[in-house]
Symmetry: C2
Subunit: 163 residues, 2 copies
C-alpha cells in the first residue's frame, strides 16, 4: 500500500492488519461482502469507487486470502469473490467499528443499520470478550507483553502473500 516502509520494521498485529484492510475502500468492500455482494459491478455501483481502484483492492484481498475468486460462468469466463474463513473473521472488526460509530458519531438518532441479537432480542451493543472464559474485557483487565525478535510487519506480509 505504499505506506508500509514507515512502520514495516515494527512487529505489531495491528499495523500488519492495517496493511491488509486499512484503507476505507477496502473495509467497505468487506462490509458489502458481508451483505451479500460478490461481483465487481455490484461493488462498483454501490460504492461509486473508480474501477481501477476497486480492481486493485480486490486483488490485494485475494492475495491475502480474505476473498476467494469463484467462477460462475465459463463462456465468457467470469468470477465472483466470496469471503474466506479468514475474511469472515473480520466481522469482529466491522462490528466493533459499527458499534463505536453508532454510539459516538450517530448517537441517539442511530444510523441506517442496526443489528438485533436474536438470542436476547436486544440491539447489539458490541463489546470485546475473552474467548477462553467468556468474560467481557476492558483494557484495564489486560496485561500487555512486548516480545522481542518477532517477525516485522514487512516480513509477516510477505509470508502471508506467499501462503
Amino acid at each position: 500500500m505504499g505506506r508500509t516502509a514507515d512502520y514495516s520494521k515494527e512487529s505489531c498485529a495491528v499495523a500488519a492488519t492495517l496493511e491488509v484492510i486499512g484503507d476505507p475502500w477496502t473495509l467497505l468492500v468487506i462490509r458489502d461482502a458481508f451483505n451479500g455482494v460478490r461481483r465487481f459491478e455490484q461493488w462498483q455501483e454501490r460504492l461509486g469507487v473508480a474501477r481501477n481502484v476497486l480492481a486493485a483492492r480486490l486483488k490485494t484481498l485475494v492475495r491475502h486470502g480474505v476473498l476467494e475468486p469463484q467462477a460462475y460462468s465459463e463462456r465468457p469466463p467470469r468470477h465472483e469473490y466470496v469471503l474466506t474463513r479468514k475474511g469472515k473473521e473480520l466481522s469482529a472488526v466491522l462490528l466493533t467499528m459499527h458499534g463505536w460509530g453508532t454510539k459516538h458519531l450517530y448517537g441517539e438518532e442511530g444510523s441506517g443499520v442496526t443489528f438485533t441479537h436474536k438470542a436476547c432480542g436486544h440491539e447489539l451493543d458490541a463489546r470485546v470478550a475473552c474467548a477462553c472464559c467468556g468474560e467481557i474485557v476492558q483494557p484495564r483487565d489486560l496485561e500487555m507483553h512486548v516480545r522481542e525478535g518477532r517477525l516485522t510487519v514487512a516480513e509477516v506480509l510477505a509470508k502471508d502473500e506467499a501462503a
Copy 2:
C-alpha cells in the same frame, strides 16, 4: 479526508467511523496513545511519520473529540494529547484488529505484542459479545435492519465536528 464524497450519502456507522479513524497513521496514533504516548515528538519518533501528516491527524482526532489537548507548560505554551472517553472506547476496534492480525497474519509464531486476560490468565483471543446478555455473538446470531431517512455520513460528521 478527501474520500468522503463517494460514500457521503450513505447512512452507515462503519463508513462514518472510517472517516474519523480510517487511515493507517490515525489508528497507529491511537494505538500508541493507549500505550502511553501523549506528545507530538514521541509519536513522530515512534512512527517516523512526516510532521505535517502527524499534525493533521492529531488535529482531526481533536476535532472529533477522540483526543483532548492538555497544557503541560505555560511558558513556553505546550500541550499533550490524551484519549477522551470516546477515544478510549476505540479499544474494542484495536483489540479485534490485534486479534485478527495475530491469528491470521502472524499465526503460531505470534507478534511482538500479546495481551493476558488477568482474570483467567489466558492470552486474549478477542471475540465480540453482546453488552446486554454477555453472550459471544457470531454474525449468524444477528439480524440486520436497514432504516431509511437516517443521517448520512457527511451529515453526521459535520454534526460531530460541531459538537
